[in-house]
Amino acid sequence: MPDTQWPRFEVFLIEDERKPAEHVGSVHAPDPEMALLNARDVFVRRPHCEGLWVAASGHVLFRTAEELARDPVSQNGHPGEERRYLVFGKPNHREPLALAACLSAQSPEEALAQALKESSAIESVLWAVVSEAELTRSDRNDRVSFFEPAATKNYKLHAEYPTARLMKEIRQK
């Protein structure tokens, strides 16, 4: 089914600054600022988070291992000016698509080809490549209002409500 909504943005989340950024999903938004706000509401209501990045989906190159086996990326791609690219890899179906390399290249294809060459030891079922220039990021000043309130919100399990206990007691009678 065609996507009839606003443009899509990919969302990357930094749970902890000591860990690499992870791709967590996507949101629809009319522009990067709204995408960042939507990402905060959809992905960071509860969990711990220290940073959020968004990039228009059209600027993120995704390649599965199957696609690469069928159609290897060419180093030449569509050369443009030299930029910094972030390359994300997903070691297996359980682990997240996480930042694996940051390098300079003239196109996302070239960046991926370089990453594949340099880190041939890394197995990945899925790759994602995005130019740093295409990312909109939350900044340090956003932390207090974006991420801190989540820490004070406890997720209450349904079993903790007195009503749930009461129902259990009634059923046991």
Binding site: Q5, W6, V27, H28, A29, P30, D31, E33, M34, L37, N38, R40, D41, V42, R45, V144, S145, F146, E148, P149, T152, K153, Y161, P162, T163, L166
Partner: protein
Amino acid sequence: MTSLPDEQTTQLVAGRLLEMADDELILSHRNSEWTGHAPILEEDIAFANIAQDEMGHALIWYELLRSLTGRDPDRLVFFREPCEYRNLQMVELPKGDWAFTVLRQYLFDTWEAGHLEALEQSRFTPVAEAAQKIGKEERYHLRHTAAWLCRLGRGTEESNSRMQAALDQLWPFHSQIWAAPPDYERLVTESLMPDLARLGSLWEDRVRTELSEAGLTPPGFGQPSAPLRDEHTEHLQPLIEEMQQVARLETEAGW
């Protein structure tokens, strides 16, 4: 200070806390009416979050009120009559279209930004601490609402005209926001609560500037005087009936 000097001051602070809590509660209820109906899925989630946040802020003020007067928040919310509510008329108006909701939230969020900052300076520590906690979340609300304001105000001809219609409808209610309850002046003198008239004039300057940047013009004259907080529009009663319906079905039920 962590306790208030005398009974009269306690009653005055409690009266103001009830107004603040009721504003948050009723706005939260109106916002929750968008759940499942917001323009797109992401906004549905975002706006439900905001509604829930406002409900949380209401609870913070009701709990503080309980610590001063012993009044139970659940009794206050579910077993008061509409005429006993002390919320602003602005927050009880029906949710209207998305433009109306965005504009009302913008007016309320900008007011709260200045109000909470001033409350952080209260000499009564529980109020200052609560304001600091609520303020973090409100900064986010304002960023979200201001983003919508500018995109709808400067979007299409239709979005602009709907925003202007919302502003025309809401503006007559705006001055009630800084109307102080009787004897409130005492709390200002003792630095327990901020000077609402001063905040009101700062707030009006700010929103006039930002509205005009968003291509909107507040109606210039003929503003009615602010009604008292015990006066309500015909829209509050059906809201309260719906909100209290389940709790009143079985008054002794626990949750």
